[in-house]
């Protein structure tokens, strides 16, 4: 179990990580998610021992490791650029960390082979890193990290250098490996779909602070604020105000749970585009507007609707029921019907949403 207490890192004026408290259970797959520059890497690197915290402590299994150098922590890292030693063969790369701790050459080679086997590269032990594809290098980096049987495996954007197909494949691989070795994984990513797909638990960061930590489905369905809502999945935002009759926005009123937001004060609301319905013409209890633009996506069509001075999105599932022929056309009048349970409310202060 890893425990971070009041962990802070300042680079001169810049605050990289700002007083983070975090507990990671043994065997969990935790993802640090956030936009570029939010401090994910810095946090991970402090756990790995590559940055010294300005304040706060890090303990692993109850032991304070805050001041240990990287080579003395029970933690290994998979670097974003893999950091394979270019002058050593794959086998020697993987065995590198074993020989240091005094393991005999033959034993180390055997261990390395086992680790390579686990990532499906047992036959490439003789190859040089530059002879491997991106996905293979990735897996060598993994093997090199797990061969030392660390307590925790740190992964800094392990899939960002791979192309889409390979990324999806490696996501499945990583999940499987996690189940197989039973280690604690802490992964950094800025890709929300990756975070959703892979983790048991997601830690959303912003400006060096933790904004929300939750299981993926909880994060998607109950984002803590507009920032998370905009960052994880797509959210259509609009300004409105709760009244006694419902939610009033764009001069129209729709049904909404009474306690969605404080009455009589303008606030920000939103919904997931795939959770709402689009009807032709004007329909009561919906937001009526005109179709602006359609983006076809194969399995769905995203329809942008101009409502008053705002623009809202609706995702239509392209099923047999609503084939492409039945799609609305630009400038057609349509109404967006939002199930009240699907409305999300955010405080007025919430800003900067996608």
């Amino acid at each position: 179990m890893i425990e971070l207490t009041g962990l802070t890192k300042r680079f001169g004026e810049v605050v990289g990580v700002d007083c983070v408290d975090l507990r990671v259970e043994e065997g969990a797959f935790v993802t640090l998610l956030g936009p570029s520059g939010c401090g994910k890497s810095t946090l991970l690197r402090m756990i790995g021992g590559f940055e010294e915290p300005t304040e706060g402590t890090i303990s692993i299994d109850g032991r304070d490791v805050t001041d240990l150098p990287p080579n003395r922590r029970p933690v290994n890292m998979v670097f974003q650029d893999y950091a394979l030693f270019p002058h050593m063969s794959v086998g020697r790369n993987v065995a590198y960390g074993l020989k240091v701790s005094g393991m005999a050459r033959s034993e180390a080679a055997a261990e390395a082979r086992k680790a390579l086997d686990m990532v499906g590269l047992a036959d490439r032990a003789e190859a040089m890193p530059h002879q491997l594809s991106g996905g293979q290098r990735q897996r060598v980096a993994l093997a090199r990290a797990i061969v030392r049987h660390p307590k925790v495996l740190l992964l800094d954007e392990p899939l960002s250098a791979l192309d889409a197909n390979l990324r999806e494949q490696m996501q499945v691989e990583l999940r499987r490996l996690h189940r197989l070795v039973g280690l604690t994984f802490i992964m950094v990513t800025h890709d929300q779909s990756e975070a959703l797909a892979m983790s048991d638990r997601i830690v959303v960061m912003r400006d060096g602070r933790v904004v929300q930590q939750a299981a993926p489905s909880e994060l998607y369905d109950k984002p803590a604020d507009a920032y998370v809502a905009g960052f994880v999945g797509t959210t259509s935002f609009f300004e409105g105000e709760m009244t006694r009759t419902g939610l009033r926005a764009f001069g129209q009123t729709i049904r909404a749970p009474k306690d969605l937001a404080p009455h009589g004060r303008p606030a920000r609301f939103g919904y997931r585009p795939e959770k709402v319905e689009l009807r032709q013409g004007h329909v009561a209890d919906g937001l009526t507007g005109h179709v602006d633009e359609l983006l076809y996506r194969g399995d769905a069509v995203r329809v942008f609707v101009n409502v008053g001075d705002g623009r809202l999105a609706v995702d239509l599932q392209v099923t047999d029921r609503a084939a492409t022929d039945g799609l609305p056309r630009p400038d057609e009048a349509v109404t967006i019907v939002i199930p009240p349970a699907r409305l999300m409310a955010f405080g007025p202060a919430a800003d900067k949403a996608a």
Binding site: F50, A83, P86, H87, H130
Partner: protein
Amino acid sequence: MSLAEPLPEARLRARRWTAMRRYLVLSPPLLWTVVFMFVPYLTLVVYSVWRAEFPLAVPDFQFGNYVTIFTDPQYRNVFLRTLKIASLVSLCALLLAFPYAYFLVFRVRSPGWRLALYMAVVAPLWVSYLLRAYTWKTILGTNGILNSFLISAGLIDEPLTVLLYNQAAMVLTLTYVFIPFMVMPIYAALEKIPPSLHEASADLGEGHLSTFFKVTLPLAMPGVIAGFTMTFCLSFGDFIAPMLVGGPDGQMIAGVIATQFGAALNWPLGSALALTMLVFILVLISASDRLERVGQGRLA
């Protein structure tokens, strides 16, 4: 359109015009290199098989000059000496340059300082070669600055004469003059090593020193090879330091070539010597090029 069908006239003309424009860009440099580089090397080859006859040489075809070079011990002596001195110079420069470059890349944190210190080694390149070599003569002389300083400091009574007019003085001077050519490629090579490699090594349990020998040094090899080759070639072809600070045993191969074109007035022999040197250096360069590429392929 099938292949056999001829292109219409207009299209042909358009193609020809495009081709001509390329040659307009290309021809001045091409002409220059052919006339002033390719042909001169050819004339050198031609001269080298001619026979020396006063005042210069007469056409002939024989390899006597090469036979002389490879049989007369004086040329072997000079060649070996030049080899020795150039190697020593490269070695000394390496021993000074590597720590310096290493310091710049891995120990200096401020980019401003790094730039300043980098410029500090490169800047002397802009100062006259002759003057930099000459200063050592004034420093190392019997009554020179170093000796008089040591005497006035009471460290020695008699001036040291071992400082100047010998091979050590030549090595010192050449090292001084060519050290920037060693620092630059090593710096570039060290600079290219991703910091994550060092972190990965630490992450996997290695200490500083073994990381240096297992990771840093092997990856800096292309730079070391490049710098070594450059320094070696430059000092190999020098004939000025021997005349300034060399003693009676200071003759180097370039000096011999200069003599053949001067006092000895034996251009054919001189040409043959120059070509031998040229081939030697070309072999050296391509060998080092290959070594370097092997090393760089890995980092790519």
